[in-house]
Structures are given as structure tokens and as C-alpha cells.
């Protein structure tokens, strides 16, 4: 039994893998609880319903249980588990006609342009845009401003939902789930440059939506 697993932070891969191989239920439960939410969010980008996402994550974990003896440690355990998830989700997505073509990730069709580079308004005299983003640091969630924090989170969730699949998957892995760029490249089998382009477009889109939001509500600086 691995006591440290209950604390939130996972022990090193070799410890976790050894525990799984010996049938340590607490270790498996800790992994399920640590990664399943992120896996569900990711699976949801490939399939059309929450129930399908639950099934995808279930099938991925079943494959992990079956395959853990064969895990060779050539990637991190997290990367390995997420690759299994992506493969499972892709197969399911194909069945649902929601296949996502990663090989054409540079193709621009149907993707929102970089909202930050649109000449949507003219800057003020000194090059500073007028309006609510004037003192940007004051706009973000602080404990005494929870209502605003909640609104901003809602706006960001909406912005994420409006992204093309591949951009949403990359920004979800990187910025929401906290994966490194190396992990994302390995999980999705894309190049570092490709990953960066998708991430940048996604971030620019979200930033642009938030800017529009603050312009609309006219929050004073």
C-alpha cells in the first residue's frame, strides 16, 4: 500500500507502476482520481456526448489495467495512459464520424483567426487601447471579486467550446491540465512547431474573446 498516493501528489512512475503490477487498489484508485477528470475533458473533444466520454475513459483505463505489465517506461506513465486514451477516443470518434485529422493541423479552414491581430479598432493617441483593459492586472480574479472571477471563468469556458477541436485539445492539455509541451507532442504525436501554432491560435482566440467580453460589459479600469 502506497500511503503517499492518498496525499494528492503521485509518487514517481516506477513506484506507481510497481504498485499497479502488484494489484495495489489504493494506487489504482489514486490514479483514477488524479487523471480521470482531465481524461474526460479530453475525450469529450473527440466524442459527441458525456456518456460516450465516460465510456472512452472507462475503456482506456481497462486497456491500462490489461497493459500495465507491458509498460516499458519509454515515456512517462501519464503520457502512456493519455496516448491510450487518445487512441481509444479516436476509434470511438471515427464510429461517430467525428474523426479529427491531426495530419492537416496547419490547415486553416474553419479555424478562428488570431483575434489579437485583427485591426478591430484603432488604438488611442499613445498606442494604448482605450477601455476596460487599461489596467489589466486589476481585472483578474481576486478573493474579494469572486463574482467577476466566476464570470471570467464562464466566458473562458465558452471561448474554449468555440475552438476547433485540435486547438481545444492542445490548449486543454497544456493550459487546463498542465501538461508540458513535450508531453502534448508525445500524446498527440505532433511536432513541437505544430503544437505551438495550435496552442498560440487557441490562446489568442480565448484572449480575444475575453477582451470582447470586457469591452461589452464596459467594466471600468
Amino acid at each position: 500500500m502506497i500511503v503517499a498516493l492518498a496525499g494528492g501528489t503521485l509518487p514517481p512512475d516506477d513506484v506507481v507502476v510497481a504498485a499497479l503490477r502488484t494489484g495495489d487498489e489504493a494506487a489504482f484508485a489514486a490514479l483514477l482520481d488524479a487523471w480521470s477528470r482531465g481524461m474526460l475533458r479530453l475525450a469529450r473533444a473527440y466524442v459527441s456526448t458525456d456518456d460516450s466520454a465516460q465510456e472512452v475513459v472507462q475503456d482506456a483505463w481497462l486497456a491500462v489495467v490489461e497493459g500495465i505489465d507491458g509498460f516499458e517506461g519509454r515515456s512517462s506513465l501519464k503520457t502512456w495512459v493519455h496516448r491510450i486514451l487518445i487512441n481509444t477516443a479516436k476509434k470511438r470518434g471515427v464510429r461517430e464520424n467525428r474523426a479529427i485529422p491531426w495530419s492537416s493541423a496547419f490547415e486553416r479552414r474553419g479555424e478562428p483567426s488570431d483575434g489579437s491581430s485583427r485591426p478591430s479598432r484603432s488604438p488611442g493617441e499613445d498606442g494604448v487601447p482605450p477601455g476596460p483593459w487599461k489596467d489589466f492586472s486589476a481585472l483578474w480574479p481576486t478573493p474579494e471579486d469572486e463574482a467577476l472571477a466566476s464570470e471570467v471563468r464562464g466566458q473562458i469556458a465558452t471561448a474554449l467550446a468555440g475552438l476547433p477541436d485540435r486547438q481545444r485539445i492542445v490548449i486543454t492539455l497544456r493550459d487546463v491540465e498542465g501538461c508540458t509541451s513535450e508531453e502534448v507532442c508525445e500524446i498527440l504525436d505532433i511536432s513541437a512547431a505544430n503544437q505551438r501554432v495550435l496552442l498560440h491560435r487557441a490562446r489568442a482566440w480565448v484572449r480575444g474573446r475575453i477582451e470582447v467580453y470586457f469591452e461589452t460589459v464596459g467594466r471600468p479600469a
Partner: protein, 96 residues
């Protein structure tokens, strides 16, 4: 260019000189530390004298911060979690 007027006495030509539109496209590469040295220096020089781009960089950082703090969605359904735990137990029994 208007935005460089604050910096007219500095040697802005010593490194690559970026326009705002170029800086916008390089924000993520800059944050990932994926720029080569001349590009990074050019970026920093531009940011030092262009309030708009500097603010946009802060906005990117703030957006990234909020993304990382989004509340979790619902986790595994109870029945799915139970099924997985029992599959894990079964596996152990199959391979004592």
C-alpha cells in the same frame, strides 16, 4: 513607427526589429522560450517600448493563469469507477 517614439534614442536596430503584428504571432513562442537569441532580444526590445504589446503579453499570461485554475468538471460516474476498480481486482486474481 509611432510606437517607437518613446525609445527613439535607443539602438533599436541592434537586434531584429519587430512590428506589432509579428510580436503578436510570437507571444507563445516567447513564453515557451522557443525563440532564438536575436528574436528574443528583438521581442524584449519591442515589449520594452510598446505598451500595447506588453499589455497583450500580460493578457496572455493572465488567460493562461485562469485556464490553469478552471474548476474541474464532473469526474468518473460512480458506476464506471466501480467497474474499473473491480476489473483491477479481477486482474490481480487472474495473475496471483
Amino acid at each position: 513607427m509611432k510606437r517607437f517614439t518613446h525609445n527613439r534614442d535607443k539602438a533599436v536596430n541592434a537586434v531584429k526589429r519587430f512590428r506589432c503584428a509579428e510580436v503578436v504571432e510570437l507571444v507563445t513562442a516567447y513564453l515557451e522560450d522557443a525563440l532564438d537569441e536575436p528574436a528574443r532580444l528583438g521581442m524584449e526590445q519591442h515589449l520594452a517600448c510598446c505598451r500595447e504589446c506588453d499589455r497583450r503579453l500580460d493578457q496572455f499570461r493572465a488567460v493562461i493563469g485562469v485556464l490553469g485554475a478552471l474548476p474541474s468538471e464532473d469526474g468518473l460516474r460512480g458506476d464506471v469507477r466501480d467497474r474499473l476498480m473491480s476489473a483491477f481486482r479481477d486482474r490481480r486474481h487472474r495473475r496471483p
